[in-house]
């Protein structure tokens, strides 16, 4: 029997022993983990996958770029693949586990230096292990007039990890990759590439001008396995003098059309500048309630019951959370425009003054839309209990008819599996990230199987209508890559072969294999 809980595909145990011994020489034994106990944090997933298929062989924790280069030399020699993570909090997408069994998790949490925060040009340069919390504390301690844009797990998650996965937040800087500028990437052969202006010796414009000269490369290092990102520039929003969050509630499910048709022109024109959200009634209810306290029937909660519950709990069938940013004067002017538009569409516009200081749903949205950290949304995991969650996240046009169509499609499939439609739309500039949390009890094998089949069917049926997801979990990466077509897959494979001929970087990430 092997002394390892898994081995990389095609690697003999004797070779793996040698690789582990070399990693220990480079990093010290404490930073090379391979017992089941020590690997436990990397085995914890919320998605409905079998962990055996994603069990890492080891986890190694470098603290410098130079150590990463030395690690890659060993990996190339023994053909041992590494799966880089920044903080590994990719909850609902696979957490810290690799796409395929036997990979070594390259845990970059010890590379946690905030290299620079420039308060004039409003940017930060950070390493992978820096958390939003760390950056938040740094800014607060120095009293800098800058805002972050954290995702919900911000207190434990990493700006770099989130951005390379193309995650989102809720301020005007919500589309994270769009507001990043300049990467340092260690390639499989150990070369260090700085993208954009970073390739110029002595450049001081790396974090202020994205494109540099010639082909722009940053994108190929997101959701990919072409390199290990070791530094990232992110733009920070100057704290505005005034901020006014609000919610618009709509009573009927079909009102999603009115909500989106109203918000789109305001968002494109930047009257509403932020990545707000349009959440359904069950999302609102699920964040602050246990399902069993509200509904005890079989299967998904029927529409009529959802409508009743929404009314009883004072939430809309749809709830648009968004905000105005600027000076008191500009906000006053914009407020007239937005309230007139939303009221004309049949929505009820409410502010903190209307809701009082203790509305938990409003308060967590208020906080994230101004870049504060909160984990209140984790309340979703009390809805069913049992720790199961998987995000289904198709992209929609910011058009009412499209969001209505996606909602109908999603609900039909989810309800067939007895799963509630707990969903929201994140308001992009011209798109909507349709985010559905598939909540299930992970301790029940039957529920796990249902959740998995449901996701599979969602992917197929959405693809048939031309809809693709913006991101997926470690269990479905090959499938989603296929749905995006053969030419993209073939180009990815060619780049992979050129940059990583031994396939040592995250095989299977986004469906890209050697």
């Amino acid at each position: 029997m092997s002394k390892y809980i898994a081995l990389p595909k095609g690697v003999a145990e004797a070779d793996f022993d040698k690789a582990i011994a070399e990693f220990k020489k480079i990093l010290g034994a404490d930073n090379v983990l391979h017992s089941r106990e020590r690997l436990a944090p990397y085995l914890k997933i919320m998605i409905p996958a079998q962990i055996e298929e994603h069990t890492p062989s080891a986890a190694i924790m470098p603290e410098s770029v130079e150590q990463i280069q030395r690690i890659l030399r060993v990996c190339n020699r023994y053909k041992t693949p590494v799966w880089p993570i920044s903080t590994g909090k990719n909850f609902g997408y696979g957490s810290a586990a690799p796409a395929t069994r036997g990979q070594i998790v390259l845990d970059l949490k010890r590379l946690n230096r905030i290299i620079e925060v420039d308060p004039d040009l409003c940017y930060a340069l950070v390493e992978p292990g820096v958390t939003y919390q760390q950056l938040h504390d740094y800014i607060k301690e120095r009293n800098l007039p800058l805002w972050l844009d954290p995702p919900i797990p911000g207190p434990v998650a990493s700006p770099l990890g989130n951005t390379v996965e193309r995650g989102v937040g809720y301020t005007p800087y919500g589309e994270h990759f769009l507001f990043s500028c300049g990467m340092e990437v260690v390639l499989a052969n150990g070369d260090i590439l700085r993208t954009g202006m970073g390739s110029m010796p002595n450049s001081n414009t790396w974090q202020v001008f994205k494109w540099g000269y010639g082909p722009s490369l940053d994108g190929i290092f997101t959701q990919s396995n072409f390199g290990i990102v070791t530094k990232l520039g992110i733009w920070l929003m100057p704290a505005p003098p005034a901020y006014k969050p609000f919610v618009v509630r709509y009573p009927d499910q079909g009102d999603i059309v009115k909500a989106i048709e109203t918000v789109r022109p305001l968002r494109i024109a930047q009257v509403i500048p932020n990545a707000g959200t349009v959440s359904n009634a069950l999302w609102e209810l699920a964040v602050v309630n246990r399902r069993a306290d509200l509904y005890t029937g079989e299967g998904a909660i029927p529409d009529a019951s959802v409508a009743k519950l929404a009314k009883a709990h004072g939430v809309g069938s749809w709830n648009v959370y968004t905000a105005l940013y600027g000076t008191e004067e500009t906000i006053a002017e914009h407020w007239k425009i937005v309230t007139a538009a939303f009221k004309a569409s049949g929505g009820t516009v409410l502010t903190q003054e209307d809701l009082g200081p203790d509305d938990p749903l409003f308060n967590y949205r208020r906080d994230v839309m101004r870049g504060d950290l909160t984990m209140r949304e984790f309340g979703l995991y009390n809805w069913r209990g049992g720790g199961g969650s998987m995000w289904f996240a198709p992209v929609s046009q910011a058009r009412g008819s499209e969001t209505l169509k996606q909602m109908g499609l999603a609900k039909r499939i989810l309800n067939k599996y007895g799963i509630d439609y707990v969903g929201l739309f994140v308001i992009g500039w011209r798109d909507m990230h349709h985010i559905i949390d598939i909540l299930y009890d992970r301790t029940l094998p039957a529920e796990l199987a249902k959740a998995r089949s449901c996701y599979d069917e969602l992917l197929d049926d959405f693809a048939r209508e031309g809809y693709g997801v913006y991101r997926t979990n470690i269990d479905f990466m090959d499938k989603v890559a296929k749905l995006y077509g053969p030419v993209k897959a073939s180009v990815n494979r060619k780049i992979k072969k050129a940059l990583d001929p031994n396939g040592i970087l995250a095989p299977g990430k986004s469906g890209i294999h050697r």
Binding site: A40, L373, Y381
Partner: protein
């Protein structure tokens, strides 16, 4: 004795005493020895949590395990700043949490982000007459799942944590049958649920 059997033996009805078998099973991670009392963090306002915390206290007292208790509401436990303050106060401590799923996830992830190790985590689903438990341990490749009557379950869970904490010095009367594992058992339609866990902060 492997980890799985060790846990199952702790789940068997019996009393704590002294056994070399437990010593074999406990690793530094599984039973981190420390002079500091164990901190039990119970979520207030959840009757099942109250009951389990009370039972833990009774079992710990009987086993001579030193503990202190902290209460926090669901609102406090989902306010991550509150949890951070709590974690700041207990470095090096063993902490048992008894709380709802959301609070447990937040607590465990915040603790893990500062290097905490989780020895045991158990999901409890309550139905009208019985409780279904699903326990994962740092050393197990799969979880252990079993059901107990509502009347008995807390005692068994109390013993599980007590035995795990006491580790090398502890013992268990393993003459009684261990739990019958039932991974496929269906869920009741009207359950409440709870999570308990043991971590070293």
């Amino acid at each position: 004795m492997d980890r799985r059997n060790f846990i199952k033996s702790l789940l068997a009805s019996g009393v704590l005493g002294s056994s070399p078998l437990a010593a074999q099973a406990a690793s530094d991670l599984f039973a981190p020895g420390t002079a500091q009392p164990v901190l039990i963090v119970g979520q207030s306002g959840l009757p099942h949590a109250d009951e389990l915390v009370a039972r833990l206290e009774r079992v710990f007292a009987a086993a001579g395990i030193d503990y202190v208790q902290a209460r926090a509401s669901g609102g406090e436990l989902t306010d991550y700043t509150h949890v951070i303050v709590l974690l700041d106060r207990v470095p090096g401590r063993r902490v048992i949490g008894v709380m709802d799923a959301a609070a447990a996830l937040i607590f465990q992830e915040l603790a893990a982000a500062r290097g905490a190790a989780c020895a045991l985590s158990t999901h409890h689903r309550f139905a009208a007459q019985e409780v279904r438990h699903c326990c994962i341990s740092a050393g197990l490749d799969t979880s252990i799942v079993w059901s107990d009557s509502l009347a008995d379950h807390a005692e068994r869970i109390g013993r599980l944590y007590a035995g795990t904490l006491a580790g090398p010095e502890s013992a268990v009367d393993r003459s009684a049958p261990v739990v019958r594992e039932e991974p496929d058992r269906a869920a009741d339609a009207t359950p409440g649920s709870l999570v308990s866990f043991l971590i070293t902060v």
